[in-house]
Each structure stands twice: as C-alpha cells, then as structure tokens.
Symmetry: C2
DNA sequence: ATAAGTCGGTTGGAATTCCAACGAAAGAGG
DNA sequence: CCTCTTTCGTTGGAATTCCAACCGACTTAT
C-alpha cells in the first residue's frame, strides 16, 4: 500500500503538522485506510456515523435522495478533501445523505471522538488538529452564510450587487477579480446565466459597474 | 455581580458539564464577563477577533454594512446563545460584520485558543467542551446547507416541495408539522408570502399535498 | 486555414414572481 | 357582542425571470 504522504501534506486538517509527525498522529487517531471500487456506497443515508473521511485517491460524491427518490449531487469531493465531517461532528442520528465513490478510491477514516479527546500520549499536535478542524468547519460556515446573504435577495440585480459589493469590500478597493466565469457565477447566485448577463450590462449602462472578463470595478 | 448560573446551565456549549464544574471551567478558560450599555459596539467590522461571546443577559445583533453603507441585521442573539464563534474559530483577519448591543447586556468572552488547547490542569470537561463546540458549529453548518438546498431551487413550487419533502423524510412519515407560519416559511424560503400561499393551494388542488394550519401531509 | 468548442452578450416570448389590496376566519380583550 | 389584530387564501396587473436560440469573439486542434 502507498502511504499517500504527498496527499496528506495537502490536507487542511493536517496543516501546520510536521511531515514526520503524520504517521504517529494517524496511528494515535486510529485512522483506517479502506479501498473502494467505483460505485460503492461509503456512507448510507439513514445510518449514524462517528467517523469522517479523507479522500486519499479517487473521488466521492455526496448525494441526497428526496422523498420521491430523486437523487441529487450535493458535493463532489476530490483527493485531499474531507467528507462527512459535519455530520460526524454534529452526532446526527440519521444521515440525510449518502456518500458514493465515482472512481476506484482509497479513503481514510477518522473517528470524530478520537479527534476531540486528547490522547493518552499527550501528543502535541492534537490541539493543532482540533484547531484545524474547528477552522475548517467554521470557515465553511462563514462561506455558507455569505452565500445565503446573496441568494436570499429577490432580484438578480440585488443578488449581483450584494455579491459584487462583498467582493469589493473584501478586496479593499473598488477594483477586483472574481473566481467565477459567468455560468459559475449564475449557478452560485442561483439565477439564469443569460438574465444575469443582461443585468450586468444594465448595471454597466446605469454607470454603476465596469467590467471586462472577470475583472470588475464598482463605481 | 450575579453569577448567571441559571443562564450558563442552558448554554449548549456547556451541555453535559456539571453545575459544580462550571466555575472552575470558566476560570480555566480565562472567561471574562463584561457589562455593556445599550447600543454599544462589541465587535467592530474590520478588526480581528480571537474571542467569541455568550449573552448572559440582554441581547446583541450581528449586523453587516455593505459597500454603500447600508446596514442589515444578520442575526439576533438572545440570552444563552453564542455569537462570533465562527469568526473566532475561523481565525478571520478582518471581521465582515459588527456586533452591537440592543439592550443593556452582560456578555461573557472566551478565547478560542484556550478552548482548543487542553489546559495544564488537564480538566476532564475540556474535551467535552471541544466536542460541544464542534457540535454547535457543525449543526449550524448542516442547517445552512439544507436551507441552501431549498432556496437554490428556481420556482416557488420546487422550493416548497424540496422543503416539505425534507420535513416529511425527517418525520419518517407523510404527516408532519412545520415550525413556521406562512410568513416565516416564505422568509425562510426567500419567496413572496402570497405567491407561496397560492402555490400551496395549487399543490393541494393537484392532489400532491394536504394541509391545515401548519400540519401537512405529502401524498 | 478550417473546423469545432467555449464563453459571454443579446433578444423575444412564455412563465413565474412580486406587489398591493381585499376578504374571510380565528382569537384576544373589553 | 363588538372591535381590533393576526393569519392566511385569493386575485389581477406589473415586473422580473426563465428559456431557447442566436451571434460574435476567441481558443484549440487538425
């Protein structure tokens, strides 16, 4: 088995932890690596999970089946990223989603309680691990809240202005770049691309906005 | 000064911790209680915070000023609840929101790092505290994600069906109650109340739904 | 150079939503 | 009983969004 050290180095949960400390840390956490074939179910909706996963290789999808059985993809998790951490940490009794592999994958599982409870060996990186986990979940929290602020506006124009002004504020000036192309921005704001494009033009004509490609300037 | 024990007992962060352990715990965390007059600024946007707050008495608002200076209320935090925990745990360099008191208030501040790093005295409740915090942030995460799933649907009908089928699934049966009145549900789903009301009627006429007040049944 | 693909702006009609207003029903309080 | 208030359903017209289609600019591959 590969040891996936190059992947583990990039995992945000392990940020600030020395490469040499990774292996002892993983055994301290009783982390288990499991191999999956393509299309297998990793977590099944309805069950209760105490472990979250890290994708060492391959890819998994977080999917949700609604009341009528229609499946929708909530997230695509690539190499180096976590899945299920919110559900595991929230101690949900019944998982509302399923996790399935889209390719042959190697997944690393870590018990949430092992993470929160300092180990007997009093390893120094444990508190760092906890901070990293709090960090990850909190940052996701903030970005979700922000997205809701944008999408809860009623009109496309308001959504755009809310988003763009937040980006302007974040950049500190009136000139800034956005990390989306038009289709991605439309998806992010939950609006129609062409309608959004038209609204952008209208904002430009109204003298509120200037833009070229993904460079914007609020006036 | 009151010791606010009755409030502290209800704080989710301290769930599972004995009443007798609360005082030592707070001193272990170096928690500081501060008195505020009505209308004072607790956290100011732009600054960096390492502490989060708990409302012991009174009320605070989390507000946000956009690029043009328009202020909007993001959250109202009542007695016993936390504020700023996501920002503190995420180690944001610049706070995107401000926190202000709406009444005379007593606020308890706790350093996020103190929470993540086990104390020298190796107090047993510390790991419980960490679990509780992870729990709180993760659960907020899940409910935010869920809300986005509903509101990102394009039509009122789809938003309603997404929400109602999720509630049905949660209840385990086809019959369930919702915790909102019509106006609150409309606000939650970011749609117009009257349009939503009309759509509910249409769903009823289409034989998909039955409802009376806030009792619903999906068919 | 040509062909194919991607990306972004534009347009027009269909569909949907918003908005304001009204009315019915239920509850609270005098 | 009456009044006031709240909640919810209904309606009609205005405003907005969606959708499909098209075009031009640009990039990449053959």
């Amino acid at each position: 088995m590969k040891n996936y050290l190059d992947v583990l180095k990039t995992v945000k949960l392990f940020k600030g932890i020395e490469e040499a400390d990774l292996q002892p840390l993983l055994s301290c956490l009783a982390a288990k690596s499991v191999h999956f074939e393509k299309g297998q179910t990793v977590f099944s909706s309805g069950e209760s999970i105490e472990r979250f996963g890290i994708v060492l290789s391959g890819q998994v999808q977080v999917v949700q089946d609604d009341y009528y059985g229609n499946r929708s993809i909530l997230a695509i998790i690539d190499t180096g990223n976590l899945f299920g951490e919110s559900f595991a940490c929230a101690e949900m009794k019944t998982l509302p989603v399923s996790v399935i592999t889209t390719t042959e994958s190697e997944l690393l599982f870590i018990d949430c309680h092992k993470l929160a409870i300092p180990c007997a060996k009093a390893c120094g990186f444990h508190s760092r691990l906890i901070q990293n986990m709090l960090n990850i979940v909190s940052m996701k929290n903030i970005s979700l809240t922000q997205k809701i602020e944008f999408t809860s506006k009623r009109t496309t124009r308001e959504k755009l202005l809310a988003y763009l002004s937040a980006e302007a504020k974040k950049s500190g000036g009136s000139h800034f770049c956005i990390p989306f192309n038009r289709q991605e921005l439309a998806d992010y704001l939950s609006v129609d691309r062409s309608a959004m494009s038209a609204e952008l033009s209208k904002l430009r004509d109204d003298g509120i906005l200037r833009f070229h490609k993904n460079q914007f300037e609020l006036l």
